[in-house]
Point group: C2
Chain length 409, copies 2
């Protein structure tokens, strides 16, 4: 290991992208009901057209458009009604010139007809005759076969994160099992003699573990599958065994803690010893988040991320590296980021990429992103943050009013 | 019933807000691990301070700041080291003038000391003496008791939708069970003789049900609890019985279908007959979404929403009314909407609020929202939509380049 140089965010991301290729992609399957938020693993090709038949968008009469030519409120066309189409049923009716047939909204348009006249513009007249008071052009109020989706076409592209509308479209294609990207299995370890789980009484000198909870919730947010999550004492053999277990059970190991120098070294040493080729990034030029460690084991195909022990830095580094790599490798399109004017002057990161937490507010000129000041070390600041913006390592800083891109947290 | 006037979106929302008050609010409880996306039902008050003790942010020596006055690289101050604080343990050490104590990052600062000197600026010197090469001011590298959260203060406000950072903060306060807003129990009914569930073979004239899948996924998105979901034929007694069941089991009934006039009337009549005071909105001036029905039964405390049968309209009306009322009544703050320039001229809704679906793209001048053209009746258009903007009923339309507010879908 012995990496003396701290990586820039871009360098760390590039290395991470190469390293993450060891994790087998894999396709899982889930029912359409359970697929919300999942990532489509394959292009979906339509087995059938939507609609499968010519369909009316109104209640009314299926006609030949040319039979209605010149018809109006005062001078109707008279057509012979040959029957009624039943909703949800196929029809064998055939509309010939001078004829029409009643079709409800969503009903199948009989052969021969090429347009619909709304029932509001019709009037029954004598024996089976209908007076048509509207002149319609061919195709009026008709949805053609495949207008929505044509059989054989790709109707959803792989990599799409499934929202309610995609769930609806998939269901409407008759698909019950959806091929989704297999979520990475994640082990989360929080290390530290001072860490007490939530729910236990705390004594002076101890602090409660929050990193494992935040990281587990972040995994849930990104659709990753947490298979193990535990707090460990600062004991080398215990941590060693936990890393060995994680290599067997997980695609990704997230380990946080070791906030003092000696313990940080122990974590880094173990992530290097127990992996091959081992640690490839030891320290990144990101504020906050410097003490980040990245490692990979090619044999067990496990990616390893040592998060900073500091809760704010740990959360940010998860977003910037773990969330980033999962989305990048699966080519997931993010929701659009928000452009905002920065509310105060901000100094640059002086050679480090700075992750600036902001609170959003509205103004007549658009969104204002107010930097969250004070000790960014405080966990509670995270709950006020609506999002963040990155200030480049070589950027001088931000001037009040300057436009920045905000990623919503 | 017999409501002849169509409501504006604002009128419908105001009535819905009053009607939704019949649903008992109720507080549920879930573990902190399972609370992601849930809505906090009560203010959370800190039982303990974070930190609970004065804490060092560096590895180094706890000192009295005044003892380091004038110390530098060349002229150090010499202090007597009285011991070492162990991580995660309380300390009984007391630092007197002329003394110091070693404290690791995150460790407890002994009484008497008021600042930390980083280990990099120190040097062991003879028997228990330490040379200090830095002059620090009081408070340097010290986090005081309650700096993050003070015992007795509200650290999270009710109505907050819990993100990973709030999960972390709650865990760090030692809270295991979180009071959350009880999700509404929802019954979803899709009616129509022509509807076939996903997974079954389809014949000419039939279409697949997609509305119940989309609505169920939208419920999931908003954290609502779907207790029943089924497809029903256009049979009055079957639908009647299903509505009666929903009144017993649910806070909210969502019923879609009945796209032809006669069937729409049947649904509206049943939602009126089986509820008291019954239907209060029958038709809204929203495009798409006109045939929307809103009803309430005060005895069973059930809100009833008849969505349009049309899949695109059904999804949009769910967002504009169901999603809206759930967020409104719980005072949930939405993620910031996005300001974008509209990509084309758009005609106004001519007396109706128009929900315009858009695709987002980036330009040097910011986001461009391109209206999704063509037949908005097509289900597949929803999968291309990144969001929507509302054009007011009395608005003339939009001019290309005009700034609009986009809600992400």
């Amino acid at each position: 290991m012995r990496l003396l140089k701290v990586d820039s965010l871009e360098e760390a991301r590039n290395k991470l992208l190469r390293a993450a290729e060891v994790i087998p992609a894999g396709i899982a399957s889930c029912t359409v009901q359970d697929a919300l938020g999942m990532i489509l693993a394959e292009d979906l090709i339509a087995n059938e057209s939507i609609p499968m038949f010519r369909k009316s968008t109104v209640d009314g009469y299926a006609v030949l458009a040319k039979d209605t030519s010149g018809a109006s409120e005062t001078i109707p066309s008279f057509l012979q009604c040959i029957g009624e189409v039943e909703m949800g049923k196929p029809t064998t009716l055939k509309v010939a010139p001078g004829q029409c047939a009643y079709v409800p909204t969503g009903g199948m348009i009989p052969n021969g007809a090429d347009a619909m006249v709304m029932v509001e513009f019709s009037e029954p007249y004598g024996t089976g005759q209908v007076a048509i008071h509207d002149s319609v052009s061919p195709g009026r109020s008709v949805i053609n076969i495949g207008d929505d989706v044509m059989a054989g076409s790709v109707y959803l592209r792989k990599g799409k994160r499934l929202r309610p509308q995609e769930i609806g479209v998939i269901a409407s294609m008759g698909v019950v099992e959806v091929p989704i990207v297999r979520p990475w299995r994640v082990t989360i370890l929080s290390t530290g003699d001072e860490l007490i789980p939530a729910g236990q009484t705390i004594s002076a000198g101890e602090i409660r573990d929050s990193n494992s909870y935040t990281a587990a919730a972040q995994c849930e947010k990104y659709g990753l599958d947490v298979v193990d999550k535990r707090i460990l004492p600062d004991d080398e053999s215990t941590i060693r065994q936990a890393i060995i277990n994680a290599k067997e059970n997980s695609d990704l190991l997230i380990i946080s803690g070791g906030s003092s120098q000696g313990k940080k070294d122990m974590t880094a040493d173990l992530l290097d010893q127990l992996a091959s080729p081992g640690v490839f990034t030891h320290g990144i030029a990101v504020k906050p988040g410097k003490p980040t460690i990245l490692s990979v084991d090619e044999e067990s195909k496990t990616l390893m991320v040592g998060l900073p022990g500091h809760p704010v830095a740990a959360m940010i580094i998860f977003e910037l590296l773990v969330g980033w790599i999962w989305q990048k490798i699966n080519d997931i399109k993010n929701p659009p980021s928000i452009l905002a004017n920065i509310g105060n002057n901000v100094h640059g990161g002086s050679g480090r990429t700075m992750c600036l937490l902001v609170e959003m507010s509205e103004s007549p000129a658009g969104w204002v992103a107010t930097p969250i000041l004070g000790n960014s070390g405080l966990l509670s600041t995270l709950t006020h943050a609506d999002g963040y913006t990155l200030i480049g390592a070589n950027q001088e800083g931000l001037n009040k009013g300057q436009t920045v891109e905000i990623t919503v947290l």
